[in-house]
């Protein structure tokens, strides 16, 4: 099979899977739908693997064009794909994790009436996600960008009978759209300034920073904040947990939300040349990392904790991008994909076991009932906490080291954020799996380990989370930082421009040691608090301390947005509708007609039927006509 066809088939197979399942979903038995769904993604994974190996063996990036898509005036965009190390890596993550989650979904969704629909959406999502990373121009990336937003919408609102879920879905889509608008305008500005929207044409033309470039990069970044749930557009992600758990794992942890990271990394040269945007990325990343981490401390919904954790981790990735450590960002993205998918799937397994119970206050002591889930979850927690040698340790450490090089304050904030992460993840772990079981007798009776289709992906991901860090072991620990080398062609130009920092190995060791120590302290703290003292978060309605309450209510950000954006907009809409439209413009138009009627009535009275009066008027007319002679 030719490379061109293979590349073409990678996104096409999931699309075909979607079309097939969607069109005949009513008559399709579940097993067959699952087969189509998993099979298409798996085939894509194989193809991606082939491409990856080819690139690994030193092949040039593949750039294939299929057909001209939009062409108007001097604008043209074609349907063409670019497979370079970056997108190849993304392909592997998407199709690989995607496949695992497909498998997982078979077990998780088996009893749901919308099983087939679910698979069709998942396949569609994979298609768009692939398009996003494979597109060789901004517009195609935008297609994928919006497409995944749509799938996210569809999947969040998967259980559409629940209007709260639908609200969450709408919120996700609309907040994404805010980012999308910014992104598309950024793209258009790129077109205006560089005359093209192909990466291959644009990047060579970007040679120095300028105001326009800053505007473009900021606009693109706003797009990224929407998709990757950064401040200020992050609030949709926790709500997005309304969707089925595999969705949270795939879309809202592993793949879609990292699109922003991918996009910034893809445009690294643009960012490298506009320091202002870089600083913005860094600041937003730091703020989000810290902010979301604090919120996660007080959440009681197992998925919400993970969601805020995701936000926080994404913030960390942007920190990496913001300090110019693009490869580190991507590295962390990859490891994060492993362990966060693992954590979500684990949480899903818990939820599955407890019959859709998500509140950690009603859990506890589960490690006895569902051991496989517990162990895999434990791996995930250790990975995210950065315990060596789990994946998270390497990627996070690299980011922190780069941040330290850049700015010590940034490092400090990032460290605090990651220590908080350790704390709340362990809090989650301890409350859920340790201590006494707090659910009802009825539920306890039914708790059972999940089927193989759920546990196998968990195990695979656990292995990845445990070992995934070795693709980026830094040199000082005897590694070769393979991933950085692999990605270096993508960031080559940026590296040329950037001043290289050199940091002494000593400093690096010290930093690493400090972090590990503090991490262990955090673990100890959490253990004391939640295992030894067996503290359980207060139940709903009880008195909380002020600080706790603020965090518990997520700093009231949703309420804040509601009152400064949503409600005013509704008021304005009402104002337009009632005041300007109905009693303004339309009233004015109708007034013409009414006054016409009014005048007509007056004129009608003139015609009063008395012939004497008519003659009178006529004589007045005659007088006026004769008086006209005086004018002449």
């Amino acid at each position: 099979m030719s490379i061109k066809a293979m590349i073409f088939l990678i996104p096409l197979l999931p699309l075909l899977g979607f079309v097939l399942i969607a069109t005949i979903r009513k008559r399709l038995v579940r097993g067959f739908a699952a087969l189509i769904g998993c099979g298409s993604v798996f085939t894509s994974f194989i193809f991606s693997l082939v491409l990856f190996i080819k690139l690994l063996n030193g092949a040039e990036p593949f750039n294939v064009t299929y057909f001209s898509w939009i062409a108007a005036g001097n604008f043209s965009a074609s349907f063409s794909y670019l497979i370079d190390p970056l997108s190849s890596l993304m392909l592997l993550i998407i199709t690989g994790i995607g496949f695992l989650i497909h498998i997982y979904s078979i077990g998780y969704m088996w009893k749901d009436e919308g099983f087939n629909r679910f698979f069709s959406y998942l396949n569609l999502f994979v298609f768009f996600m692939l398009l996003l990373v494979m597109g060789s121009n901004y517009l195609l990336m935008y297609v994928g960008w919006e497409g995944v937003g749509l799938c996210s919408y569809l999947l969040i609102g998967f259980w559409s009978k629940n209007q709260d879920y639908n609200d969450a879905a709408n919120k996700a889509f609309i907040m994404n759209r805010i980012g999308d608008l910014s992104l598309i305008i950024g793209v258009i500005l790129i077109f205006i300034n560089y005359g093209s929207i192909n990466y291959a044409d644009v990047f060579p033309k970007v040679t120095e920073g300028s105001f326009v470039l800053t505007v473009i990069t900021v606009l693109l970044f706003i797009g990224a904040t929407g998709k990757s749930a950064q401040i200020p557009l992050y609030t949709w992600l926790p709500d997005a947990m309304a969707g089925p758990t595999p969705v949270s794992a795939l879309i809202h942890a592993a793949t879609m939300v990292t699109a922003g990271v991918y996009m910034v990394a893809r445009n690294n040269i643009l960012y490298t040349l506009s320091p202002v945007a870089m600083e913005l990325v860094l600041v937003i990343g730091l703020a989000t990392a810290l902010f979301a981490a604090t919120i996660a401390l007080a959440q009681n919904d197992i998925k919400k904790v993970l969601a805020y954790s995701t936000v926080s981790q994404l913030g960390l990735m942007f920190v990496a991008l913001g300090v110019g450590a693009y490869a580190s960002g991507i590295f962390h993205m990859a490891t994060h994909a492993f362990f966060k998918a693992l954590l979500f799937l684990g949480a899903g397994s818990v939820i599955h076991a407890l019959h859709h119970e998500q509140d950690i206050r009603n859990m506890g002591g589960l490690r006895k009932y569902i051991p496989i889930t517990f162990f895999t979850f434990l791996v995930g927690v250790l990975a995210i906490s950065g315990i060596p040698p789990f994946a998270g340790f390497f990627s996070k450490d690299e980011i922190l080291a780069k941040a330290f090089e850049h700015n010590q304050l940034a490092w400090l904030i990032a460290v605090i954020a990651s220590l908080l992460t350790v704390f709340y993840m362990l809090r989650l772990l301890f409350i859920t799996f340790y201590g006494k079981n707090r659910s009802s007798e009825e539920t306890i009776h039914h708790i059972h380990e999940s089927p193989a289709s759920i546990t196998i992906p968990l195990i695979v991901l656990a292995v990845l989370s445990a070992a995934g860090g070795f693709m980026g072991v830094p040199e000082i620990l005897g590694g070769s930082n393979w991933i950085e080398h692999f990605l270096s062609p993508v960031f080559a130009k940026s590296h040329e421009v950037m001043t290289e920092y050199t940091m002494s190995h000593t400093t690096e060791y010290v930093l690493m040691g400090v972090i590990v120590v503090f991490t262990l302290v955090m673990i100890a703290l959490a253990y004391v608090r939640y295992v030894s003292r067996a503290r359980v978060p207060a139940s709903e309605g009880s008195e909380l301390s002020v600080a706790h309450r603020i965090i518990y209510h997520k700093y009231y950000i949703d309420e804040f947005y509601e009152s400064i954006v949503v409600k005013p907009f509704y008021w304005i809409s009402k104002l337009f509708d009632i005041v300007i439209e109905k009693s303004g413009i339309d009233r004015l138009v109708n007034l013409i007609s009414e006054s016409l009627q009014d005048w007509s009535n007056r004129f009608r009275k003139l015609q009063n039927g008395y012939v004497g009066f008519y003659i009178f008027i006529m004589v007045i007319g005659v007088i006026l006509v004769i008086a006209y002679s005086f004018l002449k």
């Binding site: 004497g612 009178f616 004589v619 007045i620 005659v622 007088i623 008086a627 005086f630």
Partner: protein
């Protein structure tokens, strides 16, 4: 002499014309109208239109006025209690007609001071006849159509239908 006669006749004509308007009794009005007509006939004689004066007297005083009086008598209208317009309407009428007169006179003012001719013979019947039956033959014939139409019309309107009943559709 002619001048005095003119002023006298003018006075009679205007005065009786005013009385036509202001008399309460319709019969008086019509009678004053006859006087006016006679005064106008006098004017005709003054401007050498003797034949016309004769015709005038015959047609107006003789035929038309008789018709008026006949109708008044027929309808038994020789009363003074006919409905009158309100004072406001009357004042308005007087003012309006007055303004019209003023405007007309004003616009005709100072046109010609040429005196009227005298001793002209065009008013004689032979002159008129020549014109009437040569140049104006067609109008003359047409006036027969006119009279025919009027006649038919009068018969048609005047004839009392048995079905005639006041009715109001509204």
């Amino acid at each position: 002499m002619t001048a005095y006669l003119f002023y006298f006749l003018s006075f009679v004509a205007i005065f009786s014309a005013l009385l036509v308007v202001f008399s309460k009794n319709p019969v008086y009005s019509i009678l004053y109208l006859i006087i006016t007509f006679f005064a106008i006939a006098g004017h005709y004689v003054l401007v050498n239109a003797q034949f016309l004066a004769a015709v005038h007297v015959i047609v107006y005083a003789g035929a038309i006025m008789v018709l008026f009086l006949y109708v008044i008598m027929l309808l038994n209208l020789n009363k003074e209690d006919e409905p009158h317009k309100s004072y406001l309407a009357k004042i308005a009428a007087v003012i309006c007609a007055g303004i019209m007169m003023v405007v007309l006179v004003a616009s005709l003012r100072g046109t010609m001071q040429t005196a009227t001719k005298s001793g002209s013979e065009i008013g004689f019947v032979n002159n008129l006849g020549k014109v009437l039956f040569n140049e104006f033959l067609l109008p003359f014939e047409i006036s027969s159509i006119l009279l025919l139409a009027a006649m038919v019309g009068v018969v048609m309107v005047g004839k009392a239908d048995h079905t005639t009943q006041p009715q109001d559709k509204k």
